[in-house]
Symmetry: D2
Subunit: 135 residues, 4 copies
């Protein structure tokens, strides 16, 4: 979190949560996948839909939130990322939001959707169980 | 739009759209309602849920996007705002996103939900038809 | 301005002003220069330094701030943009900040500074007097 | 850093650095001072001026930048924070920016500057030597 993510009501502004979700996806699909030699997510995944339910207000503190995320609904050319955000260092902390993002594989050069390849599918299936990160 | 709303892919980042929706809500519930003597929305409405579908990528240009919004599902202590975002000066431009936000009336001092009063309900009902703004 | 540019103190956060300056530069060097057939600023100008003095707090309102800017200290490979930000629709409104940015011409492909060409120099010299925009 | 701090040029946008400086100040003046029982900085310090020199471009990576900061020019009602930002985990990494911020003690309720008290002065003097944080 950043102190200025808070708005005049003294809580983290609702628009900032999508940035926290993005950081968690970047960590999984860019950093972790990249470390396994899988760079293709970084070359083209677009967001088709977000849903987010806000369950509690969050006040800034120095310690990061915990974002747990996992993959679901893996299709030919899309998948869903599901998330839970906790106001504390780990999953036992109060749940502040639940969210899901539908992601579409996209060929940025050709400007059209593309199909998941085998390595991508295997990576998504390997992350179908909740795993925690920090935002 | 701001030029820096764009990310390294050269498109407006998906997280920024919620800020555009917020600007459209602020214009309706703070400015327009305030001009009619109705200041109570500003003292306490919280977002319980957002849903947004992204239909096209947007590239920065100087002219604002058009955000059309209207109120729906008006309940005792909540209502929904629905939106369409167009990439151009008016509603005929290409549709880039559809969204809905569930808003809960909230007593910020007492930290608990509260009921809509008559003036608020009348304002919401008067805005149940689409009307355009700019973001 | 955006409502969420405000922080928990209820004022526009100091970090947001650089975004307002950027919007004023984008309008001059990308849009206005582009309309005159001069696209080279967009292909490579980097910021080497910012200075900004904050004179008054700003509270969000729907109307844009007025940003006046002009070019100064035009050198072989750099120039300075100077700004005044007014809290109102025009230059007569209360002055809220003064700023200056040193800009360096940069070849993004070769990753090194480059010299101003004649068309760029003429554009900068034509904008050496204050002119107002909105942010 | 956040991935979306990058702009279409693929580098961290210059306007984001002020947010990194803010995070470093929040850590020192709100968190560290607060842990020592000194809450008065949080109740009122305003930024009167920023200067920042950009020395190198920064590309997003998962690891935080290192921000070193210290206090200087301690006066009756103001002080300066000086910073160096390094693109790596510690001070030996490449220096990407140098900055200074003039901070004014401010009584937010009375809306006027105020004098440093003894505890605040002692805290600033104890932090007159560079110390590293992360942003």
């Amino acid at each position: 979190m950043r102190w200025a993510d808070q708005d005049p009501y003294g809580h983290v502004n609702n628009t900032q949560y999508l940035a926290y979700l993005e950081q968690a996806r970047v960590d999984l699909f860019f950093r972790q996948a990249g470390e396994q030699g899988l760079a293709s997510f970084e070359r083209g995944v677009v967001i088709a839909r977000h849903e987010i339910d806000y369950l509690r207000q969050v006040v800034y503190r120095a310690e990061p939130l915990c974002v747990e995320l996992w993959c679901a609904a893996i299709r030919a050319a899309s998948f869903v990322v599901e998330y839970e955000i906790y106001d504390g260092p780990a999953v036992g902390a109060p749940l502040v939001a639940r969210a899901r993002s539908r992601c579409v594989l996209y060929d940025l050069a050709a400007e059209r959707p593309r199909r998941l390849d085998e390595a991508e599918r295997a990576f998504l299936e390997a992350h179908a169980e909740p795993a925690a990160g920090a935002a």
